[in-house]
Point group: C2
């Protein structure tokens, strides 16, 4: 907004630049290999300033996870319009998810891979974000099932399992779309809707699949 690049940038702006640089370095090199030197250089600031603002590599990584987790969950929530029918709510939610992960591949790599396996408190933050998305999807499915009025017996633990399956499928497709050539957000979302919705749709309509003759 008309801000001029000077050395006397507000702290909040500088901090966001450091976080932007950190997302790229952590996402592309991994948490262990990432160095504060590289992050400072990419952000165009001195290393002592990074330490002054963000305290340590651990705190910087945690700040990155928190910022990117909030951005992703917010993008998905904003994509879903509650006044729409169930399939469109899901479609727009998935589209928002895949558009966000395609635009921010390094952030997705941090959240999906790096954050989960370098112990606490990182794994806890990543797990909390995932749990929030699973809860959101669980509610979408539960409301859709109630709207459909066809399967009042769809038990809670089954709805929870369906939400876990959907989130896992979306995670897998996001990683695939970000590495395969020419797979866009729209195509990934379309593939997942064709995989999931007709399946969920059949369930809502009371058409279950049953194990063969058992």
């Amino acid at each position: 907004m008309g801000a001029v690049k000077t050395r006397r940038m507000p702290r909040a702006v500088r901090e966001q630049q450091m976080l932007d640089a950190a997302v790229r370095i952590f996402g592309q090199r991994g948490y262990t290999a990432a160095s504060m030197d590289d992050i400072a250089e990419l952000a165009g600031v001195s290393k002592p300033l990074v330490y002054l603002y963000l305290n340590s590599k651990e705190d910087l990584f945690l700040a990155v996870i928190r910022r990117e987790a909030a951005a992703l969950t917010e993008a998905v929530r904003a994509g879903v319009r509650p006044d729409q029918p169930a399939d469109r709510r899901l479609w727009h939610g998935l589209l928002a998810f895949f558009e966000h992960t395609a635009r921010h591949p390094d952030a997705w790599s941090v959240l999906h891979l790096q954050a989960r396996t370098h112990g606490e408190p990182f794994a806890g933050e990543a797990a909390a974000m995932r749990a929030a998305i699973v809860t959101f999807v669980t509610q979408l499915i539960a409301v859709a099932a109630r709207d459909a009025h066809r399967d009042p017996d769809l038990p809670d633990h089954e709805v929870a399992g369906l939400a876990e399956a959907l989130v896992g499928a979306a995670e897998s497709l996001a990683a695939w779309a970000n590495t395969a050539d020419g797979i866009g957000a729209r195509q990934a979302a379309g593939t997942l809707m064709n995989f999931a919705w007709a399946g969920l749709g059949s369930l809502m309509a009371g058409r279950r699949w049953s194990p063969p003759g058992e």
Copy 2:
């Protein structure tokens, strides 16, 4: 097979005991926190003997990944009988997968979480196993689509995307079933079939889901 516990156990048997202990320690504590002392103690051998047989913590971790990846892919392949109709092939494959991951939760934690994020060569081994399973599932879906003769235009990249979605959903449900109370392998497989098969089944029958009025 009538083997007697003695100090003069064959090397191959001792090695398997060390690998068994390593799976538990790596799976429960994570790669970084796992110590060779703990692994040797759990295996009931001296630490020098672990180094003599397996060389280093890195080599031991790699040996664990290779053994457990081979066991999981073999279990899934063995579960699928090629003479069955497509839905049963998928059902038995999923059941074999969830039964294996439920019986070997530490091995699943090593393959799904630990192996993927501690750099090479571990990530490469885990990725190779996952790619082999995705290829296997891709072939299952392609054969099912061909058998159905309904959607000759299901393009290769869409089949690949469906396989990625299915594998991601299965990974997510395996982690969920191993942590949620009272969710057995059969229930996880049933939930995924109800999520996936009716969806894939609709696709095979040429009933696609399309984005709304766009």
